[in-house]
C-alpha cells in the first residue's frame, strides 16, 4: 500500500513541477525515477519515452503508465498516471474558475492577446523541432504537406489523417526500404 502511495506522490510531484509539457518532463523523470528511486534505468526511460512519443496519448501519461506498470503491475500503472494528472486537475480547475469570472476584464483580455502571440512562436518552435525528426525524405514531405493543407484549409477530421497516414506509412516504408535495399535501419 505504501509503495502505491509512493508512486502516486512521486508522479504528482513530477506533474506539479514540470512546465511546458511532455518534453520538459524528461529531466524530472531522470532525477526522481532513475536516480532517486531506481524504478527504471536510464535506458529503459529512453525506450519508454520513444514509445510514448509514437503511441497514442500524452507522452507524460504514457511514460508514467510504463514505469508504474513495470514496478507494481496494472494497478501501479493506473496509480502513477493518476498521480501525474492530479496537480493539473487541481491547478487548472482553480484557474478556470478564476478566469471565467475575470475574462471580461480589459487587463485580462490584453494580457491574453499578448500571450497568444507568444503561443504562436512556441508552437512554431515545437513544430520545427518535430518536423526535423519526422520529415526525413520526399514521401514524408508529401504526407506532411497533404495533412497540413487538408487540416488547415479543409478542416477534415484528424482521425482520418492518422488512419490513412498509418496505412500509407506501411505501404511507403516497404517501397522505400526495398529501394534502399535495407540501407539504414534508423
Amino acid at each position: 500500500m505504501n509503495e502505491y502511495l509512493d508512486l502516486f506522490l512521486t508522479f504528482a510531484r513530477i506533474g506539479g513541477l514540470t512546465f511546458g509539457g511532455g518534453y520538459a518532463m524528461l529531466p524530472m523523470l531522470q532525477r526522481e525515477v532513475v536516480e532517486k528511486r531506481g524504478w527504471a534505468t536510464e535506458g529503459e526511460l529512453m525506450d519508454y519515452y520513444a514509445i510514448g512519443q509514437c503511441t497514442p496519448g500524452i507522452i507524460a501519461v504514457n511514460t508514467a503508465t510504463f514505469i508504474g506498470h513495470k514496478n507494481k503491475g496494472i494497478l501501479g500503472g493506473i496509480i502513477a498516471t493518476l498521480g501525474v494528472v492530479f496537480p493539473s486537475l487541481v491547478i487548472i480547475t482553480i484557474i478556470a474558475a478564476f478566469i471565467s469570472n475575470f475574462a471580461e476584464l480589459a487587463v485580462v483580455q490584453n494580457a491574453f492577446a499578448g500571450i497568444r502571440v507568444c503561443v504562436c512562436v512556441l508552437i512554431l518552435n515545437a513544430v520545427i523541432k518535430l518536423w526535423k525528426k519526422a520529415v526525413i525524405d520526399a514521401p514524408t514531405m508529401v504526407i506532411f504537406v497533404l495533412v497540413f493543407l487538408g487540416s488547415a484549409v479543409f478542416s477534415l477530421s484528424p482521425i482520418l489523417f492518422v488512419l490513412v497516414a498509418g496505412i500509407a506509412g506501411i505501404a511507403l516504408d516497404v517501397t522505400v526500404q526495398s529501394r534502399k535495399k535495407g540501407g539504414d535501419n534508423k
Binding site: 509539457g21 500524452i58 494528472v85 491574453f112 497533404l146 487540416s151 488547415a152
Partner: protein, 190 residues
Amino acid sequence: MIFLQLFYEFFKAGLFAIGGGLATLPFLYDISNSTGWFTHGQLADMIAISESTPGAIGINMATYVGYTTAGLPGAVVATLGLVAPSIIIIIIIARFLGAFSENKLVKGAFYGLRPASVGLIAAAGFSVFKLALLQVDLFKVTGAVADLFNWKAIVLAVLIYIAMKKFNPHPVLAIAASAVVGVVFRFGGV
C-alpha cells in the same frame, strides 16, 4: 449525458492523438467545431494557460475544456477520458515491449504517422497564427493589404522568436513577458 459525451470526445482524442500534448490540439478544434462547447478564441486562451501552468499540456487542456463545459465533474471526466486509452494501450504494449519496437509493420506505420502528426500540429498552430497575427475581418472590410497584418503582434512575435533562439528562456518567462507587453500596449484593443 454531457459527461458521457465529454468522456467519449476526449477518449477519441487520447486514442488518436500521437506525439504528445500539442497533438491533442487538432482534436480540440474538431470538438469546438462539432459541439460548440467553446470558441476558437477560448481555445487559444486555454493553450496559453496550459502552457504556462505545470503539468502535461494535453491534460491541462482536457481539464480546462471539461471544467468550462460542465464544471468540476466535467474536468475530471474529460481528463479520465483522455488518459484511459493511454493506460490501456501502454499496459498492452508493456507486455511485449521487445517485439513491438522491432516489428516491421509498426515501424512502417510510424514512418507515415510522424509527418502526419507534425502536419496536424502545424495546422493547429496556423489557426492560432491567424487569430493572433492577422486581422482577416478588418481586411475583408477595407481590402487594404496592410490591414491584413496585425503589425504590433508581428513585431512582438519576431522579438520573442529571436529571444527564444538567443537565450532559450523557459516558456513561462516568454509567456509572462508577452502578457506584460499585451497589457502595456493594449494588444486586446481594450
